[in-house]
Symmetry: C2
Subunit: 418 residues, 2 copies
């Protein structure tokens, strides 16, 4: 992509009402724009990071054996009444009437809709286990939307639901889903922790939260290095005593919730009479689990974890583009020639590249490159070319290296394979 | 994918209230399920077809130079008031209040939101032309939702908006977008026609509809083979006189609208004071175009165009899976061995395959294969294997061919490259 064509409107300052590091940087780097309270437009760079996160999640869900579906965002009241959640759910559930005065809500989650689908079309233990997932918009009418897309009202989520014939199978799948989540957040390049949590409005017997560690996290996590135990202090209410081992004191850190797994049991299948026939011909309620990832939140969490005073420091996996090529003066034929050549060759390596072909001073281009946070920067200038070198600088390092022009592509390959 | 794990609940009969060939077949083949009036769950097979259409559209939009963004489905009333459409738009616009009594609507289209984004962040003629597109849910509160996903209330759409400094540039881009649309529908494998249309609620100076030809189409198209002229009779009101040539009579056919391009001019930029600075420093309104494709409708249109009494006949480009491998008896070790081998080898060719490993009679598997409409079927049975052959049958042909086992993969390659 050529920077002259890319809609990436960078800003020196974030708007005053912006209240989190990631929100400030996402707006300043031109990743998002605020449409209204808790509603954000995702611009090309932001969406590319979102899609990279989505693809990682999709690959691991497919490996887990889950099948992708797509469910309406608009859900009928009747199903929510079957589970009693139409009454229980507070004002965060956006409710409205259609032109015929029929009541609906905008999905904050899809247990009712998926259980309804499965009770109609899955009848036998032989069809189990079954896991279905989707990506899509969700809406929670937060009283105080804040932290940019981290606590937005409309957000992008992966939700997965599993159906089982036995407790043992449900627990086995839960473990595998847990492992898939570990894999997902490892691939994102996160420092994170899985902690025990309570089940809140979703309900069920137990659950885990996946927390990206960041000083700015909303939640306090207490954990024990020795036994691997971790819990969300506020939500789980666990004090300082560690249930699994005697090592004290527990570590305390802060985290941002990006995923949540729930062992639901038969809460929804009982309420909605969602039954299958077991091997003996008896009707049994499905045993369920559900597994969410806030994909738009993953992007914000990546930025909370990776940034400095100059801007975003992406992990390689989530960076919208991996390399920026900066000709200090694109009007200079020799510089243009090398910049065009590297732009083409880098892309041939399968690396996403931006060519900053704008008619701007080199200093402006460097500032934008740091702010947007491309993992690798290749600078081509008159003096360097006279010496036969390009300046190559990883975003996470302070200084550039002078690399002979013939070796630049090898350096790029090395950087992204390391 | 193994059929025993695939959620593809086929039905002998469609529900009585189903009123279009594609809707009946989508439900019978287990592609979709109705959640409520005009609201559909997309099951794994349906979603795969939808994603294949989406990918074709995305590739051609990227080639056109448009950049992907993602905008909220929930839009604030204020922007719709700026253009006057809050008043003009009828009951098809789903309106509601959030918990703070602020008014919003669910996007049926995004001219206001995109124009608002661009007026805030694009200021100079040097940033033009600019084209932005997105995929996402749209909602139209149809009085009488019908024809399954074809006239659903919530549907999946690609909408693209372009911004230009000059009329000439806007028209040039319009032509390129038109050509991209032709490419998209050619790649989908459609028989289609682009026809002149009127601009309806979107407004603007002129527009074209892209109509998939099908006997069951809602719209009557009149066209002239000699000059290429085509028009939507009902919407455009064009009679029998052909404006561009004198050849009579015009052809009449029926079509399903899958895409619509609009030359908007300055309708939205004037109303919303969306201006850029031209080379002389003067403020000018953006000249705009917009370009929609009903992606979920594309899937239904493909089925309206491709079906017979036994089920769906997919084009190769949109088929959820391209090949089904049917072992007549998967419990038989020799049959299983060959079926597993072909399942693996076909996928290595980059061809999506389903292995029908279910414990069902061959007749049931054949019926499902025809109903779901896999373009190619490979059957492995005891008698055939004794002769050293597999039965290979394209969905669109009546009879199978006996292919020596060693040649099957070559046949598969030939079929998908032809």
């Amino acid at each position: 992509m050529k920077a002259s064509r890319l809609l990436a409107p960078t800003l020196r300052e974030a708007p005053r009402d912006t209240d989190a590091v990631s929100a400030k940087l996402m707006i300043r780097a031109g990743l998002i724009r605020k449409l209204a309270a808790g509603l954000y437009d995702w611009l090309p760079l932001g969406l590319r990071a979102l899609k990279k996160a989505e693809n990682i999640v999709r690959q691991e869900m497919d490996k887990l054996g889950a099948q992708e579906v797509w469910l309406p965002t608009i859900q009928p009241k009747e199903l929510w009444e079957e589970t009693g959640r139409w009454q229980v759910y507070g004002k965060e559930l956006l409710r409205f009437k259609d032109r015929k005065d029929t009541e609906f809500c905008y999905a904050p989650t899809a247990e009712e809709v998926i259980t309804d689908l499965v009770r109609r079309d899955v009848n036998s233990y032989r069809q189990l286990p079954l896991a279905l997932y989707q990506f899509g918009s969700k809406f929670r009418d937060e009283l105080r939307p804040r932290f940019g897309v981290m606590r937005a009202r409309e957000f992008y989520m992966k939700d997965c639901y599993s159906f089982h014939a036995t407790e043992a199978d449900a627990e086995d799948f839960y473990k595998k889903a847990y492992e898939a989540y570990v894999k997902i957040f490892e691939r994102c390049g996160f420092k994170f922790r899985a902690v025990e949590a309570d089940s809140g409005a979703i309900g069920g017997s137990f659950s885990h939260e996946f927390m990206v560690l960041a000083e700015t996290g909303e939640d306090e996590i207490i954990s024990c290095e020795a036994c691997g135990y971790g819990a969300n202090r506020e939500k789980h209410g666990t004090g300082t005593a560690c249930p699994k081992c005697n090592k004290e004191p527990l570590m305390s850190s802060r985290g941002i919730e990006v995923g949540h797994t729930f062992k639901l049991g038969t809460k929804y299948s009982d309420a909605m009479k969602a039954m299958y026939l077991d091997a003996s011909g008896a009707h049994k309620p499905f045993i369920m689990g559900c597994y969410g990832i806030g994909v738009s939140r993953v992007v914000a969490a990546a930025i909370e974890q990776g940034n400095d005073e100059n801007g975003i420091i992406w992990t390689q996996a989530l960076a919208p583009y991996q390399v920026v090529i900066i000709p200090t003066n694109y009007a200079e034929p020799k510089i243009k020639e090398w910049a065009d050549k590297f732009y083409e060759e880098v892309q041939k390596l399968g690396v996403d590249a931006v060519l900053d072909d704008r008619d701007e001073r080199a200093g402006v281009k460097f500032k934008d490159a740091d702010l947007i946070g491309y993992p690798l920067r290749i600078t081509l200038g008159e003096k360097g070319l006279a010496k036969g070198i390009a300046e190559v600088k990883p975003r996470s390092e302070k200084n550039f290296q002078e690399i002979p022009l013939d070796n630049v592509l090898t350096e790029v390959q090395k950087f992204f394979n390391s």
